[in-house]
Amino acid sequence: MPEKTIAEELRERGISRREFLKLSGILAGVVGLMDSPIHALAKPINPVERVIQALQTKQRAPVIWLEFQDCAGCTEAISRSQAPTLVDLVLNTLTIEYHETLSAAAGFQVEEAKQAAMKKYAGAYVLVVEGSIPTGNSGVYCTIGGRTAVDLLREAASGAAAIIATGNCASFGGIPKASPNPTDAHSVMALIKDKPIINIPGCPAIPEVTTGVIANYVLFGVPELDSLKRPLAFYGNTIHDRCLRRPFYDAGKYADSFDDDGARQGWCLYKLGCKGPTTYNACATIKWDAGLSFPVQSGHPCLGCSQPDFWDGGGFYQGQSAPLSRPALAAVGAAAGIGAAVGIGAALMNRAQQKHPASTVPVETPEAKEAK
């Protein structure tokens, strides 16, 4: 592990006090620090001061980034992060020891470098995982350097201080895990139980969220997480809660198709299949491409890509209130057939009983009484 603190390294590189404070301010913003009363009691009140303090005491964190059943989309996304940029991260807070997409080296040399890094920083490195891990047929569906993904993950996880799962695939299994899940793909948290795990789901994960969470971890450790291990600072609200089209939802004004009047006027996309109400992510606030826009803003319903099993959560363009499965005509016919058969059977039995009553109670007429 590098022995100098982050602040010392920055000073050595000639970063001025002014630039250092600016960086601290940006970091405080992106890691989602809040001025809550609890923080005020225990730690310095000002989030920027907390960042400065952390930069002066923490060292740069070594990172090992593994890719399994992924599309490298999360890496592509993070390379376009605006604040902090990937370059900022690499220069200031991280040393990326191994990354298949970003490494200049390849082949056995880079695998050796990874082994060396894992040995050198044992128990201290941050493991970032991108992509799901196939376990079917002993994991042969994804191998790197002749070793299976499960094997590589277990090895790397054993020496990690914490694991950050980026993207829906690593967090929840993503597209590879979608039904019928041919490779028996699993998420990181389904396989690794003994390490702190932070999930940053999304398809891809929002780059600023990835960099923000990594920076947060390096400075302050594992942030506050929800029940699906997602950082609350970024996954505390639904898309729907923060949606710019929300007033139209409340007013009941919906776009009926992608090119009708409602769509042109920016009305709610619920009827076009928006999954915003059940999707927790920061798209509506941080947005994409340096805050330019996000899917719902540009006219496309939210797919729910930061939720578990979003690929199997009903049609992308089917309103969310619709049921997930529609009974097959055969099943409906069978149900109606059974109902009708039982009904006919019961009716026939009733008729038979009416014609030949099992026990007839003789009715005593007044005349019969008198005769007695």
Binding site: S227, T238, T278, A335, G339, A347
Partner: protein, 225 residues
């Protein structure tokens, strides 16, 4: 508890099963009533049966909203007559003309239809909920109704009330996170779907039987007003 998987269950296999039970059960009830038979008509009638049926349905449509005072049930207890009607109207509006419910029909039937704006549906839902509370209180205090009301009736009221109130909570995002409210709503809907064929809530189908038969009988005797 992970509400995502609970919601997936409630919208997926549980709804599927509930719908199948509902369809099977209602077919059973339908066949049972159908096979009660229709007595052969041996006496020539004075009036038109068809006309009687038409008048019967027309009365069903017109009396409640426009001339409720012609009904004894209204003059005896107007609040309950109006609350009962309002509840049914609300149910129809929300289930058929509410956008979210139309999308359910669309996914099941394959076609949709225009719906009412949310604020109208929303006020109708609120009116339906209020009407239902009024009807429940009436059951509690009405001396005769109290005697007629057993566990099955209270269960009917509860199982209809739960989807309505949870639907209202869901629409307004009250109390629970959306996926939790959605799960609870779907669970209550599924339970209701399973319960309907075994209860008097199945009257939504028998209503048409009784209207038709009574209309035909009155029409035959030419006693329609």
């Amino acid at each position: 508890m992970n509400w995502n998987s609970a919601l997936e269950f409630a919208r997926g296999p549980f709804f599927y099963a509930a719908l199948i039970i509902f369809i099977g059960g209602m077919t059973y009830r339908f066949v049972r009533v159908l096979l009660l038979g229709w007595k052969p008509d041996k006496v020539p009638g004075k009036g038109s049966k068809l006309g009687g049926v038409a008048v019967s349905y027309l009365k069903g449509l017109i009396i409640w909203p426009f001339i409720p005072w012609v009904k004894n049930t209204f003059t005896r207890n107007p609040l309950i007559y109006l609350a009962g009607g309002l509840f049914h109207l609300s149910l129809f509006t929300v289930l058929i003309l509410g956008t979210t419910h139309m999308l359910v029909w669309k996914s099941l039937l394959g076609f949709g239809w225009p719906t009412l704006p949310l604020p109208i549906v929303d006020w109708m839902a609120a009116a339906g909920i209020a009407a239902m509370i009024a009807l429940a209180i009436n059951r509690l205090i009405h001396p005769v109704l109290k005697l007629l009301t057993g566990a099955a009736e209270w269960l009917n009221l509860l199982l209809v009330f739960l989807p309505m109130i949870t639907g209202y909570i869901l629409t307004h995002h009250l109390f629970f996170p959306y996926e939790m409210g959605f799960t609870i709503h779907m669970m209550t809907v599924n339970i209701l779907l399973i319960w309907i064929p075994f209860s008097r809530i199945a009257h939504f189908m028998f209503y048409f039987f009784s209207r038709t038969i009574h209309g035909a009988q009155f029409g035959k005797r030419a006693v329609t007003p």
